[in-house]
């Protein structure tokens, strides 16, 4: 038996679905964030798998960019969460219906 990139892709799909499910069902903004990270990681897995399978470095480069973007996303996202949670510490995502700060 040999590990082909199909295995990676199936795994990636499963992880992506998990992340999507979490994002849709959880109410804590932080946990929703973590679900997004899951989805990003799922994509990373498939990027590297494709990169290896196609012998193309572009996939790995893409992962690099995903990491950078994820970092900036988390910085800003957590900033917003902190700003919101300071106002209402027990709030869930449902409570933040308005955009006014």
């Amino acid at each position: 038996m040999e590990v082909t990139e199909t295995w990676y892709l199936v795994l990636s799909a499963m992880l992506f679905s998990l992340g999507a499910f979490g994002l849709l069902t959880r109410r804590n903004p932080l946990v929703m964030f973590m679900s997004v990270e899951l989805m990003l990681n799922a994509v990373n897995i498939s990027f590297v798998a494709f990169s290896t399978a196609l012998n193309d470095l572009a996939g790995q480069t893409a992962v690099f960019f995903v990491l950078v973007v994820a970092a900036s996303e988390v910085v800003v996202g957590l900033g917003i969460v902190v700003a919101l949670m300071r106002r209402r510490p027990t709030a869930t995502a449902d409570d933040f219906a308005e955009l006014k700060g």
């Binding site: 990139e5 290896t52 399978a53």
Partner: protein, 429 residues
């Protein structure tokens, strides 16, 4: 599929390889534990002498077995888990602290003959190997990764205790780790830049080369121009949570910080991890900046590696002493001062220094083809780099100032003129 990088994964393993790896891991682990034990003794002894005390002197010759005695005592004490603790995380945390400490140690080239004509590797039973557990091609990154993982033990220990002082310690720990990770990484980047490799083995090999005028060694501390070393030493001390940056456990403020609620063997594990980290950090500094086991070496199958280890150990001892010296001398910095030092001093300095090193490097390679001469190229890179750096600084600075002004205005306040602080000139005497 492409051939994976490691022989273990390409089914090319045989029993000998596994055995060799296992033996190396065991030896390294034992060595690390013994070194840690001796470090605890060394610190207590040196601090004792610095404070007009004798230090441990009862258990064993010169009190050498004091650590062992303390360990045994802790081992047989009752293991208390607070009622409000998150049991699973509480029990997991000490191991999370200990494992990265040891894993980092596997990267350190401990011995070997790095002198000219010598061979850094040794051969036993037809198998060639380096005197380190793993020569990871991206060793420095591994090092960074482990140092950032070490924080989890502290973070989760404090949180899971379900108590207020440990929680405060945890919050401090996470902020400290994130802040100093950046400075640490940037000073490492300087080393990578001059060495041109990420492997610790190769970094030592590069430093073993011909120095300046045949007398001054080719150590990175000199090649990188001292600044990255200082930054690394400071940031490393902060990563270790050792005085003067031991805010995480700050006895006087947070009682015991993250390990307030820990007792028995779990406390011993934290203690062990802390000192193991100290030894490891000393070893990393020696490896990255002071040429590790390289040095004048008569060579030979057995003598060569041994002398290499001797050099390594001697250099390590110097830094362990420096860490102990810090502890005995300096008052603890305050939380906000710690952040200021990290973000406003260390990171800008290492960024600028990296830029200068890069410019020098480019000038030496001499092929960016802007000015068609070495100095011109370097100047071009420097100017462009400084402009970008300045721009970035200006943007962040403006954001900070504006944000503050806005909030102040919203709060109906005006900036107060800064009072002159003439204390520095006006000594009280």
């Amino acid at each position: 599929m492409r051939e994976p990088g490691h022989p273990f994964l390409s089914d090319g393993v045989n029993f000998g390889d596994v055995l060799l790896s296992l033996v190396m891991v065991v030896i390294a682990f034992v060595l690390c534990l013994v070194a840690t034990m001796l470090m605890v003794w060394f610190e207590r002894k040196v601090v004792g002498r610095l404070q007009n005390r004798l230090g441990p002197n009862v258990a064993g010759p010169f009190g050498l077995l004091q650590t062992l005695a303390d360990g045994m005592k802790l081992f047989f004490k009752e293991d208390i888990i607070p009622t409000k603790a998150d049991r699973f995380v509480f029990q997991l945390a000490p191991y999370l602290a200990l494992v990265p400490a040891f894993l980092t140690f596997t990267l350190i080239p401990l011995a070997g003959d790095f002198s000219e004509g010598g061979s850094a590797s040794s051969t036993i039973a037809g198998r060639e190997f380096f005197w380190q557990v793993a020569d990871v091609p991206v060793g420095i990154l591994f090092l960074l990764a482990m140092s950032s993982l070490g924080i989890y033990g502290i973070l989760l220990a404090g949180w899971s205790s379900g108590s207020k002082y440990p929680l405060l310690g945890s919050v401090r720990a996470s902020a400290q780790a994130i802040s100093y990770e950046a400075a640490l990484g940037l000073s490492l980047a300087a080393v990578i830049l001059v060495s041109g490799t990420l492997s610790t083995q190769d970094i030592v090999a590069v430093q073993a080369g011909e120095g300046f005028g045949g007398i001054i060694p080719n150590w990175n501390v000199i090649v990188t121009g001292f600044v990255p070393f200082v930054v690394f030493l400071v940031a490393g001390t902060a990563e270790l949570n050792r005085p003067p940056f031991d805010l995480v456990e700050a006895e006087q403020e947070l009682v015991g910080g993250f390990h307030t609620e820990y007792s028995s063997i779990r406390f011993a594990l934290f203690f062990l991890a802390e000192f193991m980290n100290t030894v490891t950090m000393g070893a990393i500094i020696v490896t990255l900046f002071f040429g590790g086991p390289s040095g004048p070496n008569p060579g030979g199958t057995f003598v060569g590696p041994l002398v290499g280890f001797g050099w390594f150990f001697a250099k390590l001892l110097v830094f362990l002493f420096i860490f102990v010296w810090f502890r005995a001398t300096l008052p603890r910095v305050r939380y906000d001062q710690l952040m200021d030092l990290g973000w406003k001093v260390l990171i800008p300095i290492s960024l600028a220094w990296l830029l200068i090193l890069g410019a020098i490097r480019i000038a030496r390679d001499g092929n960016i083809g802007v000015a068609n001469d070495v100095v011109g190229d370097a100047a071009f890179v420097l100017v462009v780099g400084m402009v970008i750096l300045g721009l970035g600084y200006w943007m962040v600075r403006t954001a900070v100032v504006n944000a503050r002004a806005e909030r102040m205005e919203a709060a109906g306040l005006t900036e107060v003129a800064v009072l002159p602080d003439s204390r520095t000139e006006q000594e009280i005497s």
